[in-house]
């Protein structure tokens, strides 16, 4: 997982609340056997509509999604995070995230930045008035900045640290590789193995 310090990219205003994981990626995509390539599933129902924002230039090249409250509710599928990342998003901004989605984001390396709703409204206006505006998201400073607008965002310290270090769950555990090796060395030899 790549470390995250700052990211600059085109902001996409998504004026919808309660975007659940079924809308982010429908269940039919769960049958796949890969971890990547879910970009075509992202918001797939909405993308049938040619006027949907991701079907319009320059938003189709966006990487910072600015959504309404209660983003990522519904089923716990990690595919929702994968689809956003595969499409090219590195940051999702919302005034409220579903807990499981927030946890899955941390695991996948997607920054879920909590921004107060009035500030989200400001970002929406800016992005709609000047399509293609780039947002700079600074994880160290916990700010989102665009043109002359700077707004703060919230993220818990632990997730922020993980993202700054670029540690996924496995990376976190492997910091204790010595302890794992020591535990293994002390396991009795009579314990079962699946080979030989």
């Amino acid at each position: 997982m790549d470390a995250f310090t700052t990211h600059t990219g085109i902001g996409v205003p998504l004026r919808r609340s309660n975007v659940d994981t079924d809308q982010i990626i429908p269940a039919v995509y769960l049958k796949r056997v890969t971890r990547t390539g879910f970009e075509d599933g992202l918001f797939s129902a909405w993308r049938n509509d040619p006027t949907f924002i991701l079907n319009t230039v320059p938003f189709d090249h966006g990487s910072v999604l600015v959504a309404g409250p209660d983003f990522g509710t519904g089923s716990s599928r990690e595919h929702a995070v994968w689809a956003l990342l595969d499409y090219g998003f590195r940051v999702v901004i919302s005034s409220r995230f579903a807990d499981i989605f927030r946890g899955n984001s941390a695991k996948g390396g997607l920054l879920a930045a909590e921004v107060a709703q009035p500030d989200v409204e400001l970002l929406w206006k800016l992005l709609e008035n000047q399509p293609g505006t780039e947002l700079t998201v600074d994880l160290r400073e916990k700010t989102v900045q665009a043109a002359d607008l700077t707004v703060p965002f919230d993220i818990d310290d632990y997730t922020r640290w993980r993202l700054l270090e670029g540690l996924d769950d496995i990376g976190l555990t492997l910091r204790h590789a010595d302890a794992i090796a020591a535990f293994e060395a002390a396991r009795p030899g009579r314990l079962p193995t699946t080979v030989g």
Partner: protein
């Protein structure tokens, strides 16, 4: 689990596997002794390893089998369904690439993952066992700490052989009777269905259940597995039973069980694996087994069960609003009228199999009842062994003949009609008596209606065509 004083079985196994105690809000890091893999929940885990350039840390503690998607007929032909075929082929490629041992379709050791582990002797007391499948709780029958995990955790275990986990709470389920035995016609399946009906499908949430008491002590290993298997239907993370002479006798001589001096050392260690007399559980439930009779479910969750002698319940009589609405909806889906005696409910299909009741003892008990009798007209009966070994054993004992002579179908090993992921499915509106573990809407096929039952009830139901127990055959 409290950290002071005397310990429960679950706490002992947990503590023996602590790689690192978590500090503050951090979870503990637990070592995993055995990782079972199947085709449905593993593809993205392997793909994740590939993307990160990570190997499988301990291929020698990992084993894979094909079960959920495999057809149980024409097993030598390619799998027709493209999604099923892709999952199975992907598992084969991944196992070859990462060096994980695999028992593919038609291999003598292939079978449902939770049947394969125990029969090989891989599942042993005091181990930590995980699998990307909720019915991993089955293995707790040996006094192992066994629980299901999600795909990202599968990847985590493949890469590190550990899992970060918060401690589970413990619940004792005491099952006792005057004689220590169950009444005739009552099986461990009835015990667990009664437990779930009592504590509810969420009653075990966050807990490891430890089944105790004289009834549990007198059960065979296979009967114990049936109980632990369905711990998850009570919402629990895991179910456990302290190992004893029955456990040791089951394991002795199995392929992967310790041998010689190792065996003696192992048994000595295993004897320590019981909750101390003064251990304190976070919760306790008592079951009076003298009152238990054959149990069947009438609704669409495993907690909606009643004694077979009862009638379809009247939702109007249910006080709790949520439960009443759930019952109304369930009866509508199930196509049942309140007040109908359960014994009058006709079935179209009887399914004997699954990781709950697809073992040799289950098949023997069904054969004993069906021998010399016929499956009722208009009823289809499927008997599906849980593994190839079970299949061969049953055929050696001539059970397959008993089934086919009675008019039942004898199939090859797999999950089969336990879930609608392979060709064995119910048609919309079809009703089954099934020895499996889940009666959710559509579980056995879209629109299918499932009654969960014991193998004995399944056999008697096949003969009479309505939900029945063996005593109805006399």
């Amino acid at each position: 689990m409290g950290s002071t004083g005397r310990s429960t079985l679950a706490e002992k196994v947990w503590n023996q596997h602590l790689v690192r105690k978590g500090e503050g809000q951090e979870p503990d890091l637990l070592y995993i002794d055995l990782h079972l893999v199947h085709e449905v929940t593993s593809p993205q885990a392997f793909d994740g390893l590939r993307l990160a350039g990570r190997p499988v840390r301990r291929t020698d503690l990992t084993v894979a089998t094909e079960d959920h998607n495999v057809p149980t007929l024409d097993v030598l032909a390619p799998i027709a369904d493209p999604v099923s075929r892709t999952q199975v082929e992907t598992l084969r490629r991944n196992c070859a690439e990462f060096g994980v041992p695999l028992y593919p379709m038609n291999h003598a050791e292939q079978g449902i993952v939770h049947v394969v582990g125990p029969q090989l002797g891989l599942t042993q007391p005091g181990l930590t066992v995980v699998c990307g499948d909720s019915h991993t709780s089955t293995h707790g029958a040996f006094g192992a700490m066994a629980f299901g995990i999600g795909t990202s955790e599968v990847e985590h275990v493949l890469a590190t052989q550990t899992l970060p986990l918060k401690q589970f709470k413990t619940m004792a389920i005491n099952v006792n009777s005057n004689t220590g035995r169950l009444r005739p016609g009552v099986t461990s399946k009835d015990v667990i269905l009664a437990i779930i009906a009592k504590i509810g499908t969420g009653g075990g949430q966050g807990y490891v259940l430890e089944y105790r008491g004289n009834v549990i002590e007198n059960l065979s290993m296979e009967a114990r597995m049936t109980i632990c298997n369905m711990s998850i239907e009570a919402g629990a993370r895991a179910g456990m039973i302290a190992p004893d002479e029955t456990t040791f006798a089951y394991l002795h001589g199995r392929d992967r069980a310790p041998k010689g001096e190792d065996w003696d050392a192992a048994v000595e260690a295993w004897r320590e694996l019981r909750s101390d007399d003064d251990a304190v559980f976070d919760a306790e439930v008592d079951i009076d087994a003298d009152t238990l009779t054959p149990f069947v479910t009438w609704g669409t969750n495993p907690g909606q069960g009643l004694p077979l002698a009862d009638r379809v319940p009247d939702p109007e009589a249910i006080v709790d609003e949520n439960e009443r609405v759930a019952a109304e909806r369930a009866l509508e889906y199930m196509g049942l009228e309140a007040g109908t005696p359960l014994r009058d409910v006709h079935v179209d299909t009887v399914f004997v199999g699954s990781c709950t009741n697809g073992r040799i003892e289950d098949l023997r008990s069904v054969a004993e009842i069906i021998q010399g009798r016929k499956v009722a007209d208009g009823v289809r009966m499927l008997v599906v062994p849980g593994s190839m070994r079970v299949r061969f054993q049953a055929e050696e004992e001539g059970l397959d003949k008993v089934f086919t002579d009675a008019g039942a179908e004898w199939r090859s090993a797999g999950c089969s009609m336990c879930l609608g992921m392979n060709p064995d499915q119910l048609a919309p509106g079809e009703r089954s008596a099934s020895t499996s573990n889940r009666n959710f809407e559509g579980r056995q096929g879209k629109g299918g209606r499932t009654h969960l039952v014991s193998p004995l009830v399944a056999a008697a139901t096949a003969v009479r065509g309505t939900l029945s127990s063996p005593e109805d055959l006399n």
